[in-house]
């Protein structure tokens, strides 16, 4: 009955096909982690960067590599280490004796999908080299500005447990990630399947067999569709209220910035499109609220001592606010 009443305004067929294809590709290799896969796709569609956090061995790097592999785009991997320098990431100018001039050699940051593995192992100096490129999709070296090709997506991983030889990411950099996804342990059933696949040597074969299912043009088209999706004004106000509440919450030392509100709306649009809707509902905003806000806010020391997490506070804020209806 609904299709007769509500004629589709936006053609989401191509987008949904693309989402299904990439979801199928990732799910065939990564057992479980459905939510992580959905957020990875949402970030790709919303033109955002993702930070994957989890203990070692929960397929963070594998997830990021598979996203890159399923897209017909260039891929770079940068292993962040304590001795890594900004020029190792961005590139450097080298003197060419033949022309008696400096020539810029591009660093590994030049690519479409960039996997920054163990991002918290590099010092703040190197991490800050990513500030400009992550926000403005450009880098400035020796007075020259170089634009990144679209799509440009940074997939970073970090381990929350290890403290030895790690550096906490600066707030300014955390704010540049659309989502921080906590990759959790698989369930018992999922782990059995992982072991069976490994035992039958299926995993390696399947990883090698992964082919690009999304072209750069298709990604650009999907992003353009998502940008044009409809958001009712009261829902914009709702997202702003959630962010605003983080600034007045007594449990928080640092609230979220307006960039967080923008990120919430953009990612809610992507989530809505993935569900075949050309408009956002409050559920879409609630779904993305914790992954968007949790890494952008800071708990007060006493709340941290009580064992609360930023995601708990976001949940409390959402429970307190009235749903626009």
């Amino acid at each position: 009955m609904e299709p007769e009443i509500f004629n589709e305004r936006t053609d989401l067929t191509e987008l949904n096909q693309a989402v299904d294809q990439i979801r199928q590709t990732l799910s065939s290799i990564i057992i479980g982690q459905k939510e992580t896969i959905d957020f990875l796709i949402a970030a790709l569609l919303a033109d955002g960067h993702i930070l994957l956090e989890g203990v070692p061995g929960v397929a963070k790097t594998l997830s990021a590599k598979l996203v890159a592999k399923s897209i017909d785009a260039s891929f770079s991997r940068i292993q962040f280490t304590p001795d890594l320098m900004p020029s190792d990431v961005l590139g450097t100018s080298v003197f060419d004796p033949r022309s008696s001039s400096f020539e810029y050699r591009k660093g590994p940051i030049f690519g479409h999908i960039i996997l920054v593995d163990e991002i918290n192992r590099a010092p703040a100096k190197t991490q800050s080299a990513l500030f400009e490129v992550m926000e403005e999709r450009q880098i400035t070296v020796d007075g020259n500005t170089y634009q990144m090709d679209e799509p440009f997506m940074v997939l970073a991983t970090q381990n929350p447990i290890e403290q030895e030889g790690t550096y906490r990411l600066p707030e300014a950099q955390l704010d540049r990630f659309l989502f921080k996804i906590e990759v959790k342990y698989p369930t018992l059933e999922e782990e059995i399947i992982i072991l069976q696949n490994q035992h039958q040597q299926k995993l390696e074969v399947e990883i090698n067999a992964v082919k690009a299912v999304l072209s750069i043009d298709k990604i650009k088209k999907c992003r353009a569709i998502i940008k044009a999706l409809h958001v009712e004004p009261k829902l914009i106000e709702y997202a702003a209220r959630i962010t605003h509440e983080t600034r007045n919450n007594k449990s928080l030392y640092l609230g979220a910035s307006p960039r967080a509100s923008l990120a919430m709306i953009n990612s809610a649009k992507a989530v809505a499109a993935m569900q075949g809707r050309d408009f956002v509902t409050p559920e879409d905003i609630i779904k993305v609220a914790a992954p968007v806000l949790a890494h952008r806010i800071m708990l007060t020391p006493d709340k941290e001592m009580e064992g609360l997490t930023p995601a708990d506070i976001v949940a409390q804020i959402i429970q307190k606010l009235e749903i626009p209806r």
Binding site: E2, E283, R325
Partner: protein, 239 residues
């Protein structure tokens, strides 16, 4: 550091020693001098003293006590309470009445502080007709029939669908199929319904509401009537 500590202790000991030894070594010799000059006794003039005594500024004994109106009220109030309590007939009754009032007040304040639903005391909240614009989020205070009619008259079908949906939520809340709270999402209400048929039907209504309200899809009179029929069927079915 050690040197400083040594100096401090050394001079401290010396001072204590000096204090102990001091009084024994001093002998005082007191010399009292006699004053033999003649003293003239002066007397006060009695008439002048009387004149001063008559002046208002020097009358301290009968100075009026400055009671404000507020103080007078409280004196009257406590006098009244005191008289009432001292009365053998009514004293006991009033005493207990006052205790009940104060205990009741304390319980009320505590309940207000913990945010308890005070409607349990009045069994069912009295329905107060509040203008729609002021009560658009409290489903128990909206006069749905009137507001829906008004929205249809104004051809505001989007608002009419919203009111139809809120009315369905109220029906579900009244029949205890859902527990209404403004902070809950539509999907939460769907998950609260246990009856599979009602859940399916309400999911359809939610879908229609979301398309019209959040999606701002245009609906004409004909489409609105179709949606309205669906809502009315559900309301009949769920009541």
């Amino acid at each position: 550091m050690r040197f400083l500590l040594f100096i401090f202790i050394f001079f401290g000991v010396l001072k204590v020693h000096a204090n102990v030894v001091g009084p024994d070594s001093v002998s005082l010799k007191t010399v009292i001098k006699l004053d033999s000059t003649k003293v003239d006794l002066r007397k006060f003039d009695k008439s002048k003293l009387d004149a001063f005594a008559k002046e208002a500024d020097f009358k301290y004994d009968d100075a009026p006590v400055g009671l404000s109106l507020w103080d007078r009220f409280w004196r009257w109030f406590w006098d009244l309470i005191g008289h009432a309590l001292s009365n053998k007939m009514s004293g006991g009754l009033i005493k207990y009445l006052i205790i009940i009032v104060f205990v009741g007040l304390a319980v009320f304040i505590v309940l207000k502080i913990i945010g308890a639903d005070l409607k349990i005391f009045s069994h069912k909240s009295q329905i107060v007709e509040v203008p729609y614009s002021e009560s658009n989020d409290n489903i128990h205070e909206i006069n749905f029939n009137e507001q829906i009619e008004k929205a249809i008259e104004n051809s505001n079908y989007r608002l009419a669908v919203r009111l139809l949906y809120l009315r369905s939520l109220k029906k579900l809340s009244d029949t205890n199929l859902i527990h209404w709270l403004p902070e809950k999402t539509n999907q939460t209400y769907i998950s609260e319904i246990n009856d599979p048929d009602k859940k399916r039907e309400f999911s359809k209504l939610t879908h229609q509401f979301e398309y019209v309200w959040y999606g701002e899809f245009f609906i004409d009179r004909e489409n609105f009537n179709t949606i309205k029929d669906t809502f009315e069927r559900f309301n009949l079915y769920s009541s």
